[in-house]
Symmetry: C4
Subunit: 234 residues, 4 copies
């Protein structure tokens, strides 16, 4: 089916009374994320893989007001839109969400959290080495998985490392450096984007959402630690 | 119709079951803005242009409790009140809202956000040049339009500039300097008022609200950056 | 009627379907104040004068869960309890609420707001002069009345002055110094209590609540100003 | 009954229309704690003793979404699970909750509050003496009980002391040092865990919850005091 084949008449993809259906769940999650300050002013986005269907929140909508009828649905194999509301633009995050889904993720969340942005500003840009947010010995690190295909979560004495990529003028142009970061740090479930925010994913909605929360908690704590002169690592 | 012609019996202007009707929407927005800390203690205000009718939240009401019956309605052409609740005073922001509507805005929001006030305090007053809040290279800047009559939004590498005007004893006396700031910075969708807050507008409610959120996010980030010793511009 | 005359069977004082009835309104207000961080862990309190009846939230209850049946009702003239729930203790704030009511207040709010506590810590204790929180040139100052019996609110160029009294081991022992502060600063609608919180009142619920919000906004701003090295007065 | 004897078919322990029933109350509390930032990303936990039954929130669930059917129920005397949902893991906090219950507590709350973590980072680790968070002369200290078996709460002039124990790789391994801290500071209703969070308990749900709130308030205030250069004790 051609990309223009999808129309907003395709209600079969989004009509469900099950609150766990991706079309409903993305709305619930986005309203919660708005309350957390992650998707202020139409920023950020969320996408869920449901079998071979990718559900994606559209660009430019007030995330706390989103309705299932706003949802884009893409075929994972052909990348053709199965549902494409004519009143909205597809999310510029789509190629980045796909990069996560192609590596096994079931859900990917993009936030503009101020704590994420601030930690990217507190890690110096140094062309001689990769930019990394690193912190250790915080209980909340145990909220993050060890890595794709590995069982269990990081331990208290493991150092958390999140790669930071440089921002680009256009969000879709982040894909190359985001994929390079994932390839180099295959155990990371997140990539920070300098002066922009973060992409966090997980095997399923539960893991993506709770990892995103744990990371945001750690970033906020890290910013407060910096204000108080406390080091992130030994 | 004379200014006193409008009474609170004119329910036809405010009675609608449509949540998108301006009389209902201003109430929903004000309750949300209260939660964001923008309209604490009856501060701030919101106005929507609906064809030739201007809907304005009254002065001195608890914004989170506002009801459609509290609403003032003004004729845009004659500036006469079509509806004027006898129990309330018209908003002192009215001339400032009108200045925005006369330049094409469809909605104007006035907040007392602490982040807005703090950035006005962090920009030095210097009689030899205009006071401007300036910041660059933040993704959230892309949430702000390029300017009236221009298509699309600012880019990541564009510098955001918001003029700052000095506060006056009476809110209505801000009109002259607000209009001067708009004339000098015609692409700006907002004017900061030193030690007071901000006026933000947009072509419609969606744009005014999301631009106001994006700016508030940027101001909060800017204050946190200052605490951490991070510069706003290069 | 003796103090023990009131029992919790006296439902006539608290049973009303009107959300504006004091027994209902105190519950709604306290739930809101809990969300604002003003009455954490059973701290703080609220009282409304309704004709000759004083409605008072009890001591030691979770304020966000309060029910009309929890309410104490006192006769303003005799100071006898008309209603005294046997399961609760009367609020230790009662003498302080009465001090405000005896000076014409219609509602009095006591919060443990952290911003209020922090400003009391930022004003030095100096036995040679009264402790005062002073700030000027903030628009939000216009949310505070000029003083009892005076019409209208403070202006932007008026300096806001809130007396600070020293805390005592027992809350009821604050009455003497609170009354002395009111007598010395008769135009103030609030008294800060060092390392403790604030008492704010107003002619009616609307004024007490919005003045309490405006003051809390100003205290938070003042703390942030201090962190950023910005002076409170010229 | 053997530990495996409990299954999730044992609905009699969790089915009640009474909102005060532990199975319902833990859900309500956890949703509230999520809003307070105490149980972000499945962190933290809550347990209530109800006669000889211990109700425990499971490990790894989104605390704001918890349902009574998620609940574990343990026999206090035999420590066997009477109800053990097969889809969840028991909370690693269980031995720590039991340590509190064995000393008379009726409810125990474990949070990852950032304020708690930050105060543990602000108290230096010194092998020559116990690590203690100490603060004095704050009204909110009066929200904390004098100690087990003692009547009434701390006074304004009493110094609040909360022992801090070092974190371990596995939560259950905290039990020994937590019990040692309780034995050494038998009047404390809480133990801080460095870089981790806090355990707070009380004779009943009301006391555990309000003490946890009061402590969190004090920790937040203490962090803000540190930023402003204000000492915790004289």
């Amino acid at each position: 089916m051609a990309e223009n084949g999808g129309t907003d008449l395709d209600v079969q993809f989004i009509h469900s009374h099950d609150p766990e259906h991706p079309a409903n769940l993305i709305c619930t999650l986005c309203a919660k994320f708005y309350g957390l300050g992650w998707v202020t002013g139409t920023g950020g986005g969320t996408s869920i893989r449901h079998g071979d269907h990718i559900y994606i929140a559209p660009s430019g909508v007030q995330k706390e007001l989103m309705k299932p009828t706003d949802m884009f649905v893409m075929d994972f194999n052909t990348k053709a839109y199965l549902r494409k509301p004519q009143t909205h633009k597809p999310s510029a995050c789509t190629p980045l969400f796909l990069a996560a889904f192609e590596r096994g993720a079931g859900c990917c969340i993009h936030t503009h959290s101020q704590w994420a942005v601030l930690v990217t500003l507190l890690v110096e840009r140094d062309s001689s080495k990769d930019a990394l947010f690193e912190i250790e010995e915080l209980e909340q690190i145990k909220g993050i998985g060890k890595g794709r295909g590995k069982s269990g979560n990081l331990g208290y004495f493991d150092r958390l490392r999140i790669p930071i990529i440089e921002n680009t003028a256009h969000e879709e142009d982040l894909r190359e450096s985001l994929e390079a970061a994932i390839e180099k740090y295959p155990d990371s479930y997140a990539v920070l984007v300098r002066r922009h925010g973060i992409y966090v994913w997980g095997d399923n909605v539960h893991k993506a959402k709770t990892q995103c929360e744990s990371l945001d908690y750690i970033f906020q704590l890290a910013v407060e630690m910096k204000k108080l002169g406390l080091p992130w690592t030994k």
